[in-house]
Point group: C2
Chain length 342, copies 2
DNA sequence: ATTAGCACTCTAAGGTCGAGAGTGCTAATT
DNA sequence: AATTAGCACTCTCGACCTTAGAGTGCTAAT
């Protein structure tokens, strides 16, 4: 075993033991738990070295070591076993079971976030599929009552988008049918993004072109305005994260909840472009949020019919089980893509 | 001022001051804050009386008094001003503003839960309108892709219910149209409850009656099975409640979150029948849940087109501002009913 | 290069103490 | 009879101290 191997082993041991025990790791502990054939003094020398290089730190002079963000970074990049799937057959079965029951997209997203929470004991987050780049396949109007119309918009990948519109005059089913035909004729095969743009920019054009249908077009303008970014975010259980020792001071929890309840914060993190089938791990200070410097986020995108769509994440303390979380996200992303695409 | 009036004033003072200051209330404090023209000794005598009768208690011998559940109960039933609306014009305006923006039912529910949280600084909860007693007005099928059909079911009060169905064979639009006609013919004007029952019990009857449409009926059985009680619950912000002093011990928070994340718990409380336009206040031990004995729930139902539908609630520590919470629920229920019924 | 040995440092838990808040009782006052 | 002043008593809370022990870092030996 070369000296470099030994140093790596020791760093790995510190990260592992700290993740498991949530307490600073001492030289003695490392030797004991890893059955190393070197003395604690040697380990101490190596620990000093690792601290000087910025991978480890001590909470106080006479304490064991804990990893720094740099230490975690080195661990996830270099040391962590990525191949091994850290999921038991029971856990996998649980996921499959849950997915068997769900019926609609909302439920799928909700269940996914809960599954991630349960399996990682951190907070699971799901960003619903973005369909702005899908093309328009179909549009339907359903009259709810004489003041409300439900618009359902179906895309080429089988996703749908709904909006309720308020009207101040009754519009006959024939007229609705006519307008849906016109929209299909004009926009079929165009991406929602384009539909949105064209509709907003050229509404008067359509208005004059199909004058017979008069006031409906004003509504269409509103209806096709997707700019408000209807991103839907699903947060799983909070109860697991409360039990993490890092949150035993209520102050930390406050920061954490203030952060996650501002949806923009999470969306910004999860929207970050990631290479297909890759995992994005952001550790502590890398988040660039002072109040979240003790937390990490792991994000993975999922596919729908082969295309990147939404993302799923684990949010927890920097002292989270990274390899387990990665395994969970990998497995769930795979199952989710399958369900959505089937 | 009769002696009874004085006792009531003192009890009222203790509740008020404890709600505001979150600290045991002393005789001196009562006299000071209420400018009473009696001595602290007299107040102490009355406090002793109130304690003997079970309305107050002391955390320890040399501490001030705090209300018992019985004390809170007497307060909300007898002392609390119910008429006065404890909402500022700004707060009301905020509510109206928020409701102006929302577009669909889901969003309305979500916004409502958040508004309740924000205005009460506790947890707001919304139970979505129950439509099982509505009658069937319309049904639509939308083909998403060759394996999925979206069923939209419209009721007489303009609510709708959606379900995604998986099919293993392509069903033509003509057939879908035909079946929607048949369903409308058979079930128009019947309550969803009845539709559900009849569909489940007589599925074979329909199957033979309209044989030409063969396998679709199997799907209908599944589609109309509402028994799984698709109750939708919306929880508002958790961040306010974290800041309440009763939750400074993390243990209490754990119990709280475990409780609210089990949706059944909240549904059971909120489904309890309540007289129209009445408020239901459940205090501490009245909840019958050991772990929640320091929490209270206030529930109010809201109307849709004049009929009781869902419920909105405030969940917080027993030391919550009951009159403010009641005002918030009253105002929001009114606004919500209006929005839903307009 | 590794290790044994040991002095040193710091935390965490426990103990003591006094100040102060607030009560309850008694005796005096209205 | 109801109210009040006066005061002893009780309990908490924070400050301070002490000690055990966990763990380090250095030095000198291997």
């Amino acid at each position: 075993m070369s000296i470099n191997d030994r140093i790596n082993t020791i760093l790995n041991a510190v990260v592992h033991l700290y993740i498991t025990k949530a307490e600073p790791v001492s030289s003695e502990m490392i030797v004991a738990y890893y059955g190393l054939s070197i003395s604690t003094a040697t380990v101490r020398n190596d620990l000093q070295l690792l601290e000087k290089q910025g991978f480890l730190m001590k909470p106080h002079t006479s304490a064991g070591r804990i990893p720094t963000d740099k230490g975690y970074r080195y661990y996830v990049d270099q040391l962590m076993e990525k191949e091994v799937v850290h999921l038991s057959e029971e856990e996998k079965e649980e996921v499959r079971e849950q997915y068997k029951i769900v019926r609609d997209y909302n439920e799928i997203m909700k269940v996914t976030s809960i599954l991630i929470s349960r399996l990682t004991h951190n907070l699971g987050v799901v960003l619903a599929p973005n369909m702005i780049k899908d093309t328009l396949k179909d549009i339907h109007f359903v009259t709810l009552d004489n003041q409300r119309i439900l618009v359902t918009l179906v895309t080429n990948s089988g996703l749908f988008f709904q909006k309720m519109m308020k009207v101040n005059c009754t519009i006959s089913d024939e007229n609705l049918e006519a307008i849906s035909q016109i929209i299909k004729k004009e926009f079929y095969g165009k991406s929602l993004e384009v539909v949105n743009d064209e509709m907003l920019n050229q509404i008067y054009h359509y208005y004059f072109k199909y004058q017979t249908l008069d006031s409906i077009w004003k509504l269409m303008e509103e209806c096709f305005d997707f700019t408000e970014d209807e991103t839907r975010l699903f947060l799983g259980n909070r109860s697991y994260i409360l039990k993490q020792p890092e949150f035993k001071e209520i102050e930390k929890l406050n920061y954490f909840f203030d952060f996650i309840e501002e949806e923009e914060n999470l969306i910004k993190i999860m929207r970050k472009p990631i290479l297909e089938n890759q995992i994005d791990i952001i550790i502590g200070s890398e988040l660039g949020q002072d109040v979240m410097e003790d937390c990490s986020v792991i994000t993975r995108q999922y596919l729908l019919k082969g295309k990147l769509r939404g993302a799923i994440s684990v949010l927890g303390p920097t002292r989270m089980n990274y390899s387990k979380s990665v395994s969970v996200l990998d497995f769930i992303a795979e199952q989710l893509s399958e369900i959505l695409s089937e």
